[in-house]
Subunit: 417 residues, 2 copies
């Protein structure tokens, strides 16, 4: 079968127009966007997407979680569709590209197939997953985790937002709206042929390398720890050093040891203490209790397991005569994407970008769930200074075009196999 | 002139009865006391004290700040009186001895003079200073700092408590009550011959040494610092170590250096980080800002000045690529009590306690202000485990008796000179 060279035909200006149009749905002044999951703006974004798909001859579907699919039928409609997409919801004060770029890149592939008048052998679908961000209803990745059988419907719909609104009630409104606008209801998940997700990097690596695109070969595993160091409150002036059980000192020493345990030659490991509090938190009182969290990430489960054991060992010691409790509050295993897909991405990327970098994703994405149902992989495109979840998030149009061309060519490869 | 040996005649049981009586004024169930400055209980305590003095033939006075004085007239009433005392107000959930013991020990000295039918050459006065604790109206030591000319009346009376009540209004109520109960108004401060204050140690040293009393030869100086470490918020998963400006890491490294600078052979220095906060304080976000306080104490101004310079040097460096701001929020110079008084205390203490320990006070007391108007010194008696500002505060009756005997004998020495 002849090659279509979808990437070369892809209209970068049209993609950029779509990005700017989508950025106006929930746009903030002077910049940034707010499309919280299942709010009015998020639902408008779904309808706009469905409308674009209709103009391209695609059918639009929604499922029990409000995930929206644009389906371009294949010559053999019985084949599992190739799935491309990401999410349209955002953080409360966000940039325009986190999630949206991946959906609009999928739309750009559909536009190219349509413009070239191509009917692929295998169906292709573009998806917008519901509530990836978790900014309104926590936790996030509701649509993709449910689709992949990783989280239960009942658990998801009982989440409550900050205004006391239930996820399930907001979802009912959304589904009614989608139905009223002529989208077809296809309640259940299905098994895709493969899933591809293009996303902004949300980190500084591609920008530093000066590359427009990177192949993501996996997603880091994450352990979250809640640590409590317990000492004895006392007067800061009257208690000599040798009589102290200062929880701050204990935490400081323990953290020095934890940091020493996580030092490595490569820069693959991420160790972050993002919260820290003292009690009673008074200038002239020795702290009775220090609490802090650890966010530990690494692409290798073996490394995470070794460090987990070491952390627990350290927590069994006394630090400045204080006792320590260390509890795992969350554990997500690393994901490695399959070589069959990575090879296709590498080959496509090589056409536009010599020495295409390979990265491990430090952030979670919908793809982390899709790996459980089908071959899955990701592409990253750089964002300025690694900034996301902020109106300052910024990408270059030319980078986005190139990354989307790589996505298009990889789509072509997968539709032809 | 013959010696009276006041200490030997002092009635330890009577002192303990007074301690228990006073503990019932504002007593909490099941234990502890609450006598916030100028509240109903605190005012009751003043009246009770004045009543006891009256029964001993003393005159009771109050001044513009509500400080209450019991005066035992001397044969030469023109001589400056020897002043003994402490405070009767307490923290919100406190023990019965912090402050009150010093006032009641003074009362015990007056009782002994009365029982022995002694009229000293020089007048002696027992004082209860207003609002030492600062628990209701901050800052504390209102009565003694005003008396010693260290703080202005206008500034003190404009303090507001947690219920919006002005210090000045609570004071007016108190003064009216004292006047109505027959105390005489003596508005202005005067220059005492000397000031002696017995206080619980509020630290663990005397208990560890097994000593009932210690001579306090000074009060540590204190510097308070407010430190801010400024980095860059970023995603905990996507930001490699070499691209981070983690304010927590910066604070951790800076504190390691600060602690190294404060290590010393002796255990005289007190370095306490009692408050610490991160912003935005999110598990998976690299901290943009860390703020913490330092409470630094030492008996020597030279040591404090050297460390102050070193702290400022360290704050000029970058730590984990973060910038630092270090500001002094409070500075109180160390106080050394004069040898003339210390020798008298040492001699008296030697009669009851061989090898009497000498301590530097780590906490502030009313005495820190009195040094500005007259020779001043202090005695400490142990409290269990160094605990104070808590209902668990505990002292032994026998220790209190011995310390008060030392106070009585020193009073005798000073009244006879």
């Amino acid at each position: 079968m002849s090659r279509w060279l979808l990437g070369e035909h892809l209209d970068g200006q049209r993609l950029w127009d779509d990005v700017r149009t989508m950025a106006r749905i929930g746009g903030l002044e002077p910049k940034g966007i707010c499309r919280l999951a299942l709010d009015e703006q998020d639902n408008q974004a779904r309808l706009w997407l469905a409308e674009q798909g209709g103009a391209l001859g695609c059918s639009a579907y929604y499922d029990m979680l409000g995930n929206v699919f644009l389906r371009l039928e294949g010559r053999d409609s019985a084949l599992a569709p190739l799935l491309i997409g990401s999410h349209l919801d955002s953080q409360r004060r966000a940039g325009a590209h986190d999630g949206a770029l991946g959906v609009l890149a999928g739309l750009a592939v559909l536009r190219t197939l349509h413009d070239q008048n191509i009917t692929p052998h295998r169906p292709v679908e573009v998806v917008a997953w519901t509530n990836e961000e978790g900014a309104r209803f926590a936790p996030g990745a509701s649509g993709s985790s449910w689709f992949a059988g990783q989280r239960q419907y009942d658990e998801i719909v009982n989440a409550i937002d900050g205004q006391g609104i239930r996820f399930g009630d907001a979802l009912t409104q959304c589904l009614a709206l989608l139905g009223a606008h002529g989208l077809a209801y296809r309640p259940r998940p299905f098994v895709p042929h493969a899933f591809l997700e293009l996303h902004i990097e949300q980190g500084p690596i591609l920008e530093a390398l000066g590359k427009p695109v990177g192949v993501v070969n996996g997603i880091q595993g994450v352990n979250w720890y809640q640590v409590t160091v317990e000492g004895q409150a006392n007067h800061a002036g009257t208690t000599p050093r040798n009589a102290r059980r200062d929880a701050f000192d204990g935490a400081h020493e323990l953290i020095t040891a934890l940091k020493a345990a996580t030092l490595e030659q490569d820069d693959d490991l991420r160790f972050t203490i993002g919260t820290f509090a003292l009690w009673p938190d008074s200038v002239n009182t020795i702290a009775q209790r220090a609490t802090f969290t650890i966010d530990l990430r690494h692409p290798s489960q073996a490394v995470l397991s070794t460090l987990d054991a070491r952390f627990h060992e350290l927590a069994e010691q006394q630090w400045s005569s204080c006792s320590v409790s260390l509890k795992v509050s969350s554990r997500v295993a690393p994901v490695m994407f399959p070589d069959c897909l990575l090879d296709a991405l590498r080959e496509s990327a090589g056409r536009y970008c010599p020495d295409v970098p390979e990265l491990v994703s430090g952030a979670f994405h919908d793809a982390i769930h899709l790996v459980h149902v089908c071959p899955t992989a990701m592409l990253f495109t750089p964002c300025r200074a690694g900034i996301s979840h902020h109106p300052d998030e910024h990408i270059e149009r030319d980078d986005a075009t190139i990354a989307t061309r790589v996505l298009a060519d990889t789509t072509e490869t997968l539709l032809n196999c």
